[in-house]
Point group: C4
Chain length 351, copies 4
Amino acid sequence: MSDDHPRPKGSDIAGRKSDHLDIVLATAAADRPERLTTGLEAIRFEHCALPELSLAAIDLSTRFLGRRLKAPLLISSMTGGPERAARINARLAEVAGDLGIALAVGSQRIAIEGRATGGLDRSLRRLAQDVPILANIGAAQLGLGYGTAEAMRAVEMIEADALIVHLNPLQEAVQAGGDTDWQGIFTRIETLARDLAVPLVVKEVGAGISASLARRLVEAGVAAIDVAGAGGTSWAAVEAERADDPLLRRTAMAFADWGIPTARAIAGVRAACPDTTMIGSGGLRSGLDVARAIRLGADLGGQAAATLAAADHSAEAVAAHFAAVIQELRIACFCTGSADLAALRRAPLID
Amino acid sequence: MSDDHPRPKGSDIAGRKSDHLDIVLATAAADRPERLTTGLEAIRFEHCALPELSLAAIDLSTRFLGRRLKAPLLISSMTGGPERAARINARLAEVAGDLGIALAVGSQRIAIEGRATGGLDRSLRRLAQDVPILANIGAAQLGLGYGTAEAMRAVEMIEADALIVHLNPLQEAVQAGGDTDWQGIFTRIETLARDLAVPLVVKEVGAGISASLARRLVEAGVAAIDVAGAGGTSWAAVEAERADDPLLRRTAMAFADWGIPTARAIAGVRAACPDTTMIGSGGLRSGLDVARAIRLGADLGGQAAATLAAADHSAEAVAAHFAAVIQELRIACFCTGSADLAALRRAPLID
Amino acid sequence: MSDDHPRPKGSDIAGRKSDHLDIVLATAAADRPERLTTGLEAIRFEHCALPELSLAAIDLSTRFLGRRLKAPLLISSMTGGPERAARINARLAEVAGDLGIALAVGSQRIAIEGRATGGLDRSLRRLAQDVPILANIGAAQLGLGYGTAEAMRAVEMIEADALIVHLNPLQEAVQAGGDTDWQGIFTRIETLARDLAVPLVVKEVGAGISASLARRLVEAGVAAIDVAGAGGTSWAAVEAERADDPLLRRTAMAFADWGIPTARAIAGVRAACPDTTMIGSGGLRSGLDVARAIRLGADLGGQAAATLAAADHSAEAVAAHFAAVIQELRIACFCTGSADLAALRRAPLID
Amino acid sequence: MSDDHPRPKGSDIAGRKSDHLDIVLATAAADRPERLTTGLEAIRFEHCALPELSLAAIDLSTRFLGRRLKAPLLISSMTGGPERAARINARLAEVAGDLGIALAVGSQRIAIEGRATGGLDRSLRRLAQDVPILANIGAAQLGLGYGTAEAMRAVEMIEADALIVHLNPLQEAVQAGGDTDWQGIFTRIETLARDLAVPLVVKEVGAGISASLARRLVEAGVAAIDVAGAGGTSWAAVEAERADDPLLRRTAMAFADWGIPTARAIAGVRAACPDTTMIGSGGLRSGLDVARAIRLGADLGGQAAATLAAADHSAEAVAAHFAAVIQELRIACFCTGSADLAALRRAPLID
Ligand SMILES: Cc1cc2nc3c(=O)[nH]c(=O)nc-3n(C[C@H](O)[C@H](O)[C@H](O)COP(=O)(O)O)c2cc1C
Ligand SMILES: Cc1cc2nc3c(=O)[nH]c(=O)nc-3n(C[C@H](O)[C@H](O)[C@H](O)COP(=O)(O)O)c2cc1C
Ligand SMILES: Cc1cc2nc3c(=O)[nH]c(=O)nc-3n(C[C@H](O)[C@H](O)[C@H](O)COP(=O)(O)O)c2cc1C
Ligand SMILES: Cc1cc2nc3c(=O)[nH]c(=O)nc-3n(C[C@H](O)[C@H](O)[C@H](O)COP(=O)(O)O)c2cc1C
């Protein structure tokens, strides 16, 4: 910046300035900070070396949407293109029914618009007769004109016990052509909560729901919250991967670690809404993570991405996956001396 | 999740959704958090640059189970299959006798059931005449019907000074076919403590004993606690390594870092049970770690895994290993200006 | 250090001492600590999953130096050798005018001394008619005799709205032949602030301005502060790269992480000078970083190095770069539910 | 540990137990914790962007042992085997004299015993006429019978201004055949402090001097303390490198990170002994580290290992090295706006 005082090796100012440019250009490496985590990994249970329990007799059952679950688990909403989706949905429904856990389907927009069902029809309920099934539409659709009628169509199409509205403003914002006019959507959710024949659940898709928003939603009549916090699937990172335009990719990547980490979202929502049914989700990998989510205040743990490989493979793989998740949750109860989920919620932590 | 608004490059929704699936599948890398440590590495002694001591004259002697030890060390319980075990036990006993340190044998279940002794007979006592020898059975065996008679058989078989009951609920839970009905075991330990002719010691195997459990055990008549905390040998990781079934392996790995870190377990148990004999163990690598365990409140330091390579080799290797551990402990005393273990317990730390 | 007591393997003292020398020499690796960061990465916004806004309608406009900006952005000063500079300046001016953001030119010393303009003439203003343009001279020049006349020449030459004086004591100190007599410069800045026909802005170049200096400058009549904090371009590292002499390089590298990190500089200056216009700059990579700077108290965000690759390429690349930055800032507003910059300043953070 | 319940794949207990042994043996990797640092790297000065100083006019002079230094630097004691030592000592003395900084010679034991001078004779004083020269003997020698007579011989041999006694209990303890009977040494230091004709300085060699020991030494009549803290040269690591016996090496490595980090030692000693002359040393790499040491309370900064490469090369290399150190210290003063060392001691830090 200051210039041309005598310089040892015959270099002139112009050369020096141009050097500056080149060195800065060469060293402008994007330093990506540490990948964001869910915060669940920091929740450590105090080990109970002498449980006075039988592992097999630990009671993981709970109630959700008026039905009994054998374990506090929700298979979180996933869409995946019509053909693959049909097979995946059938597998998930079969296993949900067999294991007695809840199932949420992916966005039903295409099915509602009558273009393809992707398996989102009454066959699902036949596969999973006694467990809660949750329908799913996007908040952006509410903004684009969907109302109670379309919502009920989604519910009835699969004989669902409840409807999920998913909130995904970041995903819409970082993709080309996303729906980013969200004015009036809150009011529409309020209306839906009042008019819909089944309970309304609101979820995020991986950036988390804050304590203050959860409270407003509950006051508006929403029956349950699924936090879907940050630290697991990052839709900004996924959209970055898909983007062709390098600048769009960069923009998406700038938000790869955006969001409220799952552990914090769960604890925040529980503190703000002590009596609301809450699903803890976003980056849960194992039954131990489910145990941690429950310890922090969740009623159920939800999983999407971690089940995907199995769902893409076979019903047997999905069954084996969730059997392992349930066994892990059971071991977490055993090794904290917790006979049931109520006891797990009081299990001592190591700070 | 929201769908089919006009998109720049002719991609359709179905393709987009399928992209999502594939990208999430490809990036689902299991992010293993930092390996858990014992916490001992964070205990730093304040250096004393002018000790006013002779290193050779530092007094490391202590008493344990009515006998004198030349150094506050316990060779922790290890089993290893009959043939190898016999050789290993003989080597350990010889060195324990020579160096004046305590010896705990591995689980005596097979020997009690009369199927093979693995060297667990009176020959051990002949090799280690003046030092404490500790017998060992598993809590799971108590659950499966062992009582005072079997326990005394374990003690007498090797002329032991005390009996260890080991607690390993996590190890049982993560292996195929483990014993996981632990109902009633606490009461059986209580009975044993009352009826047994020798003192009863309770230990974990690498997940730690909590302060509250230690207190309950002491109130039940247990004479000494060996914390065997987390940060060293992880039995979940070992069982994961052995598992053939990938899901069993995954379940075991989910608990690889479970447990109360050794440093915390020692401090917790000492605070809860100020007058109980306590062995600090779990991941102790060197005599400096033994010094740290003692500084935190342990009476003795125990080592299993770190002695194994030497034990698998020769008595000379075991002797050299423990000579080094003792020298390291001595240097820790020297460089903190501690003339004996009582002084070491008061040595200033750097925070 | 102590010597020649009997040693096991026949080694003599002389040999031992020489060993010491060689081992120490071999292990003298320079351990560079973790690269300093701006601190902005630690500022995490609480996600708002239900914004009640239209992304496109978010109002990013602000006023600066009496003109309206469409977004709170300043292209920070860069010089780069006459030929390249001319092209770069023209591109930056064109884009600043088109996008409605502010432009600061690089040091005008060479142009003032009449040796080459590097495009620093009235053509700039024609390219960027309605946006603030800032002239630039170095504090070291004030020390070497520049006064109000030269300063006004810099301003008039490009029809600037304000004059920046840049402070770069570290850069001067770590380069061969830098200007390091800074006595009296504060007084000269004070005089300039009083006598100059346009507002005076003071900036650093990547080491930050402290709260106490900012307050003194404001009391001396300076109209705005650009913190240009540490964590982005490190001039010490750049000069190290350029240095031929290894010791000069070492000296420069010793200061590679010197400076007040940008986040801290912004917060400090805002606390000390609540009502002063402040540009937050130094290592801002994306519009999300601009949002963080504004949340911490900046009125505008400035960028130099991150724009350089585009500036070296074409006006289109610069336009695309800043369009992305603006979109990122807009998304940060959207996903915090902030309708404008005033709302962004109150957006809740995650601690 | 529990045994032989039915197991899936026909494996028997013996096999399982032997598996355990092998897996534990294979995974017993020594996890070396993060390398200890001096703590100086965490001391960050607040940048002063407008110094109002001339770099060249900054006054680095100070007084030490009744003589004037042009910069607050001590070349710390180093021995290195007779032939190399002679050349090294001459080079260091020449540069110390030329630059006006203090010189401490390495251990004079061999020279005192008349076996070889290693250049430790009156030629040193001729090369460095006006600067403080410090003689050096080891505390262990005091333990082995050295008294005031031998100490004065060390002083007179090189016309020293003071005598250093170095404390190195750890180094003695981790080497084969080290002197580890340190009983009575404190009293001998006390006597020496009283009887010696020149001031007595006490130093460590890389493990630090604690606040409490410093106070006792000062009360015993010691004139100055050189902390020589941990984070730089680790003698345990050096001795580990030299050890032939793997267990001796292991023992030495267990103490590689032992000691009071330099930053903490300096601050501790200064708090305990507000008026005592103190040399801050141990791992100082640059003049910036010297500035940090002074900011924490040291009067001088000392360097051994960092000067060694230059000392092993030529007087010119040593001169260039210390010129750079002095320039770095000067830049630290400049960029904190400190006109002299007293000002540097009050320079604001960033926390
Ligand atoms: C392939 C895929 C498709 C998804 N599709 C939907 C969807 O249609 N509707 C929805 O509410 N969430 C959808 N999600 C979000 C998930 O329901 C979940 O909230 C999010 O991925 C975080 O959980 P996870 O970390 O367990 O994946 C999808 C997730 C994945 C991985
Ligand atoms: C190969 C091996 C076998 C073991 N067998 C037993 C056993 O039979 N009974 C028992 O109480 N503990 C057993 N343990 C556990 C140890 O006694 C000890 O508590 C645990 O390994 C933690 O200490 P470490 O980190 O020093 O290995 C065994 C450990 C190892 C490594
Ligand atoms: C190539 C280059 C040239 C620069 N030239 C100047 C200059 O002439 N005058 C000035 O005040 N700052 C100059 N700077 C400093 C920048 O204005 C800015 O304060 C600094 O680089 C920190 O911001 P950044 O991290 O966004 O690059 C220059 C920076 C770069 C990268
Ligand atoms: C090769 C070498 C030889 C040393 N010899 C001595 C010695 O004879 N006497 C002494 O007091 N210290 C000796 N030291 C220790 C240094 O004086 C200094 O206290 C220690 O190395 C820490 O400083 P540093 O990190 O700058 O090396 C020696 C150090 C080195 C590197």
